[in-house]
């Protein structure tokens, strides 16, 4: 057996152990009475969904969007609005939130994708801020103060999103399914075309590929997934404020993504995990926990501009693109 396949066997083993750990985590935290950590991992998974969708958009599609948090807000506020109207089935709410976010992404994408580069950055930022201000002006959902879910969402089988373990497994399952779907997509014909559009738009247009359509579809998919992540987030916190849509949140996601590694399969997830871990850690030792994060961002950009994933020996990681 050559060393390459030995190493890929090793990475499969690592994957299995990690998966087992994640699935078994609720029992473990229950045993150790460390419910806080289950909460933390669930939040990490939820944010990882959003970061991975942004990775698809920025890392593989080359579309630097600075308004992605806006779609999370759309998802969260869809859940808030429907709960306020009396609906309580988690499955329907999560589904509707995804569809509504996809619709918003279609409209915003159609506007923003008419431009490129920095103008695209600014247009997505503008649209994200518009969504933020809509959230601020919605008095019925609490304006600036935010909206509290009146009760946990119903998941059927007598379970709700208030059941820590059940909701955790739901989020874990959804996240794994979404990661698998994204990985499948980037190796599909569509994904290859998307990456080619990023590398050379003119050539792809000349070859007859519907460049705009490919971009717009990716934008809609990324927006929909961010919306689902936002819907999970409101169920996780039982709470949402317009702050989730602010442009600094979108910028934070970009920062996490660059930290993890843009255009690497696990770039978004690694970025979120490291970012949240650092945040937790720094918060415990100092009240001024922003500046070390800032220095880390600057250091990453100067030392390893392709992110943490680029530091992992290439034999141990699955094929990268980008």
């Amino acid at each position: 057996m050559d060393t390459d396949s030995a190493k890929s066997v090793a990475s499969i083993w690592i994957g299995c152990v990690l998966l087992g750990f994640l699935v078994g985590l609720p029992w473990l935290t229950n045993l150790l009475d460390a419910h806080y950590y289950l909460d933390l991992v669930r939040r990490t998974l939820i944010l990882s969904i959003a970061a991975s969708s942004l990775n698809l958009l920025v890392g593989y599609g080359g579309m630097v969007a600075l308004g992605h948090a806006g779609f999370m807000g759309v998802g969260a506020y869809t859940v808030a609005a429907l709960t306020h109207a009396g609906f309580n089935s988690g499955w329907w709410l999560f589904g509707t939130a995804t569809v509504v976010s996809a619709f918003f992404a279609a409209v915003i994408g159609a506007i923003a994708l008419r431009t490129r580069a920095v103008h695209f950055i600014m247009l997505t930022l503008a649209c994200g801020q518009l969504l933020y201000y809509v959230g601020v002006s919605l008095r019925i959902y609490g304006s600036d103060d935010g909206y509290n879910l009146p009760a946990p969402l119903d998941l059927g089988f007598g379970l709700t999103t208030g059941d820590n373990a059940a909701f955790y497994w739901l989020v874990l399952g959804a996240a794994l399914a979404i990661f698998a779907a994204i990985f499948h997509l980037i190796d599909s014909r569509f994904g290859i075309a998307l990456r080619a559009v990023k590398d050379n738009e003119v050539r792809m247009t000349a070859l007859g590929y519907p460049v705009q359509k490919i971009r717009l579809r990716t934008f809609i998919l990324a927006g929909a997934l961010a919306g689902l992540s936002g819907a999970f987030l409101i169920a996780h916190n039982n709470f949402v404020t317009p702050g989730v849509m602010h442009w600094t949140q979108s910028a934070n996601f970009i920062a996490m993504l660059v930290l993890g590694g843009l255009g690497y399969r696990w770039g978004g997830v690694v970025g979120v995990v490291v970012w949240l871990f650092l945040e937790e850690f720094l918060r415990q030792i100092t009240t001024h926990w922003h500046w070390p994060l800032g220095l880390i961002l600057i250091a990453i950009v100067l030392i390893a501009p392709r992110g943490l994933c680029s530091l992992i020996p290439s034999t141990l990681r699955s094929r990268n693109h980008g």
């Binding site: 008419r114 103008h119 649209c127 801020q129 970009i254 800032g294 961002l297 600057i298 950009v301």
Partner: protein, 306 residues
């Protein structure tokens, strides 16, 4: 609603627009020449405001406070340029966004450590505390009048410098085609350092002038950065003229929104709803303006690149 009220709102808008222009002028040249998106420009604005508020408090001299603010901001900017920004020129916009976000994090925390979390009171200079009379029965705050005057004179100075001086010619050459300018023997990097320092000085000036009008607090840099970025995109990247026109446009549109918004909104909504949505709607106007301009002119009104 009297004509005087509208005129007053327009003057407010013009004043705000001119301050935006001071922010945008440096930003648009840095962007135009070096293709570098510097989000931390707002931190220099914040620094200017804090420095002048503190110096004004201790020396009681408004002029000293502004001079110290400008010099201090230039010094910090020079440090920033040498330590970080210089390494970002050839990087992608994305990397620039992330690195300068990092600078914002550091700057906000440092300011919080030095000055504390509570907003700092920046007082208006005593001589300018009262109103002046633009007409017999039309008082206008003297300090706002000073801001207006300072903004207009700096804009005129900058216009002259960029459009009618040798240095300005070199700057414009760098902004419209950097590679060609370099091939013609222009030392773009040296010019650029000068432009960066000038931009920092303008940001510091804007910060110290805006201090007494708005709250001097952490986060003020981020909240002026977005309008300033909108201004350079609307005006066309790299163009001083575009930045001036767009800045005044944004300032006036916001002022008119505040003036006419309540009257327009009450025709559609109840008074209570109007009160709820009004602040958000006026904040949205700028973005709507930007989206509208980019729809018809995707490169802004007066792009510098041929």
């Amino acid at each position: 609603m009297s004509a005087q009220f509208i005129a007053e709102q327009l003057l407010h808008g013009l004043g705000y627009g001119l301050m935006l222009f001071l922010m945008a002028a440096g930003l648009t040249l840095v962007f135009g020449i070096m293709d570098t998106l510097n989000l931390s420009h707002g931190s220099l604005f914040m620094l200017g405001a804090y420095l002048s508020a503190t110096v004004h408090q201790y020396t009681d001299s408004f002029v000293t406070s502004i001079v110290v603010a400008i010099v201090g901001t230039i010094a910090v900017a020079a440090l920033l340029e040498a330590a970080l920004i210089r390494r970002l020129y050839s990087a992608s916009h994305l990397v620039q966004v992330v690195a300068t976000m990092g600078v914002i994090y550091v700057a906000d925390d440092l300011v919080m450590m030095i000055w504390g979390e509570a907003p700092v009171m920046a007082s208006t200079p005593a001589e300018l505390g009262g109103p002046i009379y633009l007409m017999a029965d039309w008082p206008y705050p003297a300090y706002r009048f000073l801001v207006l005057g300072a903004g207009l004179s700096v804009a005129a100075l900058l216009y002259f410098l960029v459009n009618h001086s040798r240095l300005g010619m070199l700057v414009r050459a760098g902004a419209s085609d950097r590679q060609m300018a370099e091939l013609m023997g222009l030392r773009v990097k040296r010019i650029f350092m000068l432009v960066f320092a000038m931009g920092a000085a303008l940001a510091g000036l804007a910060g110290s002038l805006m201090g007494p009008i708005t709250a001097v607090q952490v986060g003020m840099g981020e909240s002026i950065m977005i309008p300033a970025l909108a201004v350079i995109v609307i005006g066309g990247i790299g163009s001083i003229r575009g930045a001036l026109i767009a800045a005044v446009l944004v300032g006036v549109v916001e002022a008119l929104g505040k003036a006419f918004g309540p009257y327009l909104l009450t025709t559609w909504f109840s008074a209570a709803t109007t009160a709820d949505v009004l602040p958000a709607v006026t904040s949205m106007l700028m973005f709507v303006l930007m989206i509208a301009v980019l729809m018809f002119k995707p490169r802004g009104l007066f792009p510098a690149h041929g």
